[in-house]
Symmetry: C2
Subunit: 301 residues, 2 copies
């Protein structure tokens, strides 16, 4: 079955201690759509301006991403710029130019309203809610979010949480949303806010997946040479929803497998800037990393 | 087979945001010995002063810990005091009174020099080396360490690493010792310093175990109510060596199982001050938590 990805499309400037690159393909929808495209037909909803490079359109199309929902309007594309410290877990945002993204209203092509697997990638909760309002009984809805919305749009976010199957966010965001320092407590508490499942991304420490009386701990893929972690969370959740769509299964066992597919997908993302490494990965390489993840936790008693 | 534990014995004062307790049984040898005693006959080497409470001797004896190597001398017992922030991952040491510990020289009873499984719990590397010098071909030697020794006794520590089978330390210490922010790089680099295996403890994020071309990732036990994390690392490694001694196996598969036994043992430690919760745990409860850890990472494909 198909996946619908709604999110941002951006031109990123990224600086690490070693390199600096400008006008890279970025944004939550771009990363997540390319990630999902490894597993299932992927439909992308986003907005770009006149300056959006045609080669990025070609890149997305070469992955089979359906761009019928990509709005192309006059003005400049959303631009983000950030810098990583030597410790890649720390980054600061240098500038944000919303540009055409400010007028983004994610209206779905009519034929897409029945898409079964939905990823509301990281955008304002009010826009995520607007997408939900257009959908015709989706099978599984995943919502990503970030600290900005916890601080500036908490009511919208709480309204959203009552209507999604899975909330995904990172560990510091989970602590902020719940006021809990203990991630197990934070995960359980977020379940009480509405979603059937919660995934807490812990970067190099992997991921915790919560369901009612259910808990799964996944390791991170052991990457030695992290070049640029931008988009890793989006690739994780893109691979996650893509793998659900591939089989149509959405029970807890399927979600656990999806965590490993997402983890393997994200591991390619961090090995180079933008989507450079992931777009050159083969499906076999990706599945090889899933095997590594399974091996990493194997114990024989 | 038996385990030999050499380390500190202390009277701890611990303050959390909720409670404060004084003259608790503490020290790396105390914690590790009680943890090891769940699995195998345990011999403890340490030093205490005249003020050491007889009930703590009774507690250790009730666990079957052989105290023939516990030196009882005139003077006061090593005293440590620390305070935890609301985020239990952060603690500050308020005071350290070495007292009789200053004169500690870990001389082994003659009959103990052939003990097969050795835990050099956290004490000065020069003392850990002194223990190694007395041993008669041990089967497996584990050394714990801490940031203090990385800063003040690095040469001794490096000499020690060439003579142990496994080095265990926490994630921030691994970064300090190697100058690497990436834990996978740090683990691989520490293997080049001498030990056949390295275990990096990551607290709530579990543990990474490295061998040459080998890697195992273990989750933490999902504890919701952390009361006092003091001694968790010592209990982890105590349970680890105890479980090795129980079977006598020391290949990588056995080490992986030992990580889970150690993790389960440490999970009791954090649920109350000092050894209060661990000493009341049954072996069946402990094995139940090992089953939970196995279940926590199980994925069916």
């Amino acid at each position: 079955m198909s996946v619908l990805v709604v999110g941002s499309v951006a031109l990123d400037s990224v600086k690490t201690t070693k390199e600096e690159h400008h006008r890279l393909l970025g944004g939550s929808a771009s990363y997540a759509s390319v990630a999902a495209s490894f597993f299932a037909p992927t439909r992308m909803v986003g907005i770009v301006g006149e300056d959006f490079p045609p080669e990025y359109i070609s890149l997305l199309e070469s992955r089979g991403v359906d761009l019928a929902g990509l709005q192309r309007v006059s003005g400049k594309t959303f631009a983000w710029s950030g810098e990583y410290e030597l410790d890649m877990n720390r980054r600061k945002t240098l500038s944000v130019e919303l540009n055409v993204f400010e007028q983004f209203r994610p209206d779905l092509p009519a034929a897409w309203k029945t898409t079964p697997i939905i990823l509301l990638a990281n955008i304002a909760p009010v826009l995520q809610l607007h997408v939900l309002d257009q959908l015709d009984s989706p099978k599984f809805v995943v919502a990503d979010t970030m600290d900005l919305w916890i601080h500036t749009a908490k009511d919208d976010l709480l309204a959203l949480l009552k209507r999604v199957d899975l909330l995904v966010l990172n560990d510091s965001e989970a602590k902020e949303l719940t006021g809990r320092d203990n991630l197990i407590q934070a995960g359980r508490e977020m379940l009480r806010l509405g979603p059937k499942y919660v995934a807490i991304k812990k970067g190099e420490h992997g991921c915790l997946l919560f369901g009612e009386d259910l808990l799964f701990a996944a390791p991170a893929y052991p990457v030695e040479g992290v070049v640029d972690p931008t988009g890793a969370g989006d690739c994780f959740i893109g691979g996650f929803v893509g793998s659900l769509a591939a089989t149509g299964q959405t029970d807890f066992s399927a979600l656990k497998r999806a965590v490993l597919y997402g983890t393997a997908t994200a591991s390619f993302d961090v090995e180079d800037f933008s989507l450079r490494r992931l777009q050159s990965a083969s499906k076999d390489e990706l599945l090889g990393r899933v095997e590594t993840l399974k091996e990493l936790v194997r114990v024989e008693f």
